[in-house]
């Protein structure tokens, strides 16, 4: 087992365990912290795949901004173990079983997929994930969606104010 493989398995295990902990934790604050662990694990994967720009953006945007927003709202509402609503056991079991079935179906389908047999996600080849190359592509080929996404931000901004402001 090479170092890369060890890191891959470690990060994968970390991601899945943390994701499960997001589900299982009763305290919402713990859920948030576990989710941040997932994001760190995924960022680790990005670095393994030589996508450094996305690794950093993932940390800044998701772990930094979005999760802080979540944490902020949870603290604002003062949620904790006691106020946490619980679904009954059967409902939870049904959800877990149906999710498991879905995973089984998807995985078995993917294992049959002949078109990706023997294909690998190259880790050492190429430098498309570096900021210079992505920046060039973003501001040349992807200029139209880049500008259009500003409409999205504008509407989100207007919306958050319309909804959030107290009368």
């Amino acid at each position: 087992m090479s170092a890369i493989q060890i890191i891959f398995w470690f990060l994968s295990a970390l991601a899945i365990v943390s994701a499960l902990m997001v589900l299982i934790s009763k305290n919402p604050v713990h859920s948030v912290l576990w989710l941040i662990m997932v994001f760190f694990a995924i960022s680790g994967h990005y670095i393994l795949l030589n996508a450094q720009f996305l690794a950093i953006v993932n940390l800044i945007v998701y772990a930094g901004a979005i999760m802080v927003l979540f944490l902020f709202v949870i603290m604002l509402m003062n949620l904790n173990n006691e106020s946490e609503p619980q679904k009954n056991v059967w409902m939870r079991l049904a959800g877990a079983v149906s999710g498991g079935c879905l995973l089984m179906i998807l995985v078995s389908l993917v294992r049959q997929a002949i078109e990706i047999n023997n294909k690998v996600a190259e880790m050492k080849v190429g430098d498309i994930g570096l900021i210079g190359n992505l920046g060039k592509a973003l501001f040349k080929d992807y200029l139209v969606p880049f500008e259009i996404s500003s409409v999205l931000f504008l509407s989100a901004m207007v919306g958050a104010i319309v909804i959030g402001k107290k009368n």
Binding site: P28, L79, E122, I163
Partner: protein
């Protein structure tokens, strides 16, 4: 790493997200599970991008194949940030009126 490993990893994360949406009653956690689903997709896209890049690299050393998927991930992050700001505003608005973050409140609409 074989691409199947990445597909299975991200499908596992995706399904954990779906299960979370189904079983949790706290709206904020449900929303976090949706974010988890988006992250699973991001990971898959980056893995696919490197896969296609690796194939194209064999014939052309200067190829930029695959950078489109990484930019797609970038746009997903952009949209997720906007969505979170709106979503949390809606959750806070509801909390102000009901003092609860329980999804089962939603069932009252039925009648």
């Amino acid at each position: 790493m074989p691409i199947q490993y990445y597909i299975i990893l991200s499908l596992a994360l995706f399904c954990i997200g779906i299960v979370g949406v189904l079983v949790r009653r706290n709206v904020i956690i449900v929303f976090m599970c949706i974010e988890l689903m988006l992250n699973a997709v991001n990971l898959l896209l980056v893995a696919f991008s490197k896969m296609h890049h690796g194939i194209a690299y064999l014939t052309d050393k200067t190829t930029t194949t695959g950078s489109d998927a990484q930019l797609f991930v970038f746009f997903i992050m952009v949209v997720a940030a906007a969505e979170v700001s709106v979503g949390l505003a809606i959750i806070v608005m509801m909390y102000r009126n009901t003092h609860s973050v329980d999804v089962n409140f939603l069932n009252r609409l039925k009648n």
